[in-house]
Amino acid sequence: MFRQASRLLARTTALTRSRAFSSEVPATPAVDSTFIDSWKKVIPNMEPPSTPSSFMVTRPQTPTSIPSKLTVNFVLPYASELSAKEVDMVIIPATTGQMGVLPGHVPTIAELKPGVLSVHEGNETKKYFLSSGFAFIHANSVADIIAVEAVPVDHIDPNLVQKGLAEFTQKLSSATTDLEKAEAQIGVDVHSALNSALTG
């Protein structure tokens, strides 16, 4: 716990590389001109296909000073839970432990394990339980969190969690092949994380 706290402090204070001219995405949607030129040379009769960069929502440039709010995009395959929401802090369940993200955080790529994501806005906190995913924190204080499944913590049924945990622990002890062991282990991990989400 101390390690995480110190890391949290170290991260937020260590960063203030002022980049005058940088952002990892262009501020306007750009098209790759080299691709279009090489296409036109080889296939002059057809229009080149569009590329995702022309459909991107524009992202803000990296500001010179640390902004006051963190912009969070929390996306799932079925919905964008939060898109460009301004918050004070998020705590994400990285594989190395719970990680707090404040505006001005060092750019990071974090792999996520099943756990609780909490979004702090003013006085209110929203908690979601995520299955795994990835989180990107960019230099312009935009955090992208991509998860495969997420549910608000109050939608979880404790009885089913206990039942699932017991079931998978039993499967783990009786597993024979590596594949079965791995599957049972995953089940145990997710259910114990669910358990701690409910209690913690």
Partner: protein, 323 residues
């Protein structure tokens, strides 16, 4: 004289009840003529009526197909728009470099299983073939992974040796992320690639579908590009959390990116398919309606002509008798 008239009348009404002479290739005209008893001919409207019936049925069927496609489109459009946020973070992080120069390209073409959906499958196949031409060169190889029956039919004809995997019946169960993730896993395990190019039709609006190509790079190429500068040179400035090495994280990232981009691509293509089918069926119904109008005019003309002929015969017969 009156009896003769009634006899002729009877024949005219009896003619539609009897089966008409079968239309042979020798008589291409619309009107079939029957020889009556006293050398009297009455023009039959049977052929025209048959055609009108079949055109009307076709119009009903295409209208129904349009309604079905419209309802399916509504359902899937919602899901597609929700999934659009999924690939944006990856493009924001890694950029999108379609002009990347790699040795092994794999083109994933997404098409539909069912037909009657306009030209979207042909455009996808044409774009893929053009990409193949663009990315081939000395000691570079380009392979195909095909999703959907329609692209399979077009590719096996001429590019059979370049096809790695063919996947059909994707939409048997409603599309969901798990299914696409399994598919992506399958492709990643069996195909060696430096860059994956996914070709699909992006749903812009009900009448407009844009052929689009999304690029997913393998982790080694990402490393190479980030070291050499260029669009993803800032990747190095990112700290890596979790995992043992940067390579492992990049590997997981590439796989996750592929499955997310595939999910969005498959949904967009399904949406485009329904939209294209709607407009194709709409055009079909409209054409059938036009044809029906023209046939109706022809029918009325022949009907009136035959009545006029009958009347003329009767009257001329009557006036001849009177002297």
């Amino acid at each position: 004289m009156a009896m003769a008239a009634f006899r002729r009348e009877g024949r005219r009404f009896a003619a539609p009840l009897l089966s008409p002479r079968p239309i042979t290739a020798v008589r291409p005209s619309l009107f079939s003529e029957e020889d009556g008893h006293a050398g009297v001919r009455s023009i039959s409207t049977q052929v025209v009526r048959n055609r009108m019936k079949s055109v009307k049925n076709i119009q009903k069927i295409t209208k129904a197909m349009k309604m079905v496609a419209a309802s399916k489109l509504r359902a899937i459009q919602v899901r597609t728009e929700n999934s659009r946020g999924l690939w944006q973070p990856f493009s924001a992080l890694l950029g999108d470099i379609p002009s990347v120069d790699v040795k092994k390209n794999v083109i994933v073409t997404i098409s539909s299983d069912k037909g009657l959906c306009g030209g979207i499958n042909s455009t996808a196949v044409k774009t893929s073939k053009a990409l193949h031409k663009l990315t081939s060169g000395p000691d570079k190889e380009t392979k195909y992974v095909i999703l959907g029956e329609k692209a399979k039919a077009q590719f096996v004809r001429d590019s059979k040796k370049d096809i790695e995997i063919i996947i059909t019946e994707l939409q048997k169960n409603p599309l969901n992320y798990t299914q696409v993730a399994v598919l992506a896993d399958d492709i990643l395990k069996n195909v060696e690639f430096d860059a994956l190019r996914i070709v699909f039709n992006k749903f812009h609006s009900v009448v407009s579908f844009l052929p689009t190509m999304a690029t997913v790079l393998s982790p080694e190429v990402v490393e190479r590009e980030s070291e050499s500068g260029g669009k993803i040179s800032e990747l190095d400035s990112y700290e890596i959390e979790g995992g043992e090495t940067k390579g492992e994280i990049l590997q997981n990232l590439a796989e996750f990116q592929f499955s997310c981009v595939m999910f969005n691509a498959v949904l967009e293509n399904a949406c485009s398919e329904q939209g294209a089918r709607m407009s194709a069926m709409d055009n079909s119904s409209r054409n059938a309606g036009d044809m029906l109008d023209r046939l109706t005019l022809t029918y009325n003309r022949t009907r009136q002509a035959s009545i006029t002929t009958e009347l003329i015969e009767i009257i001329s017969g009557a006036s001849a008798l009177e002297g």
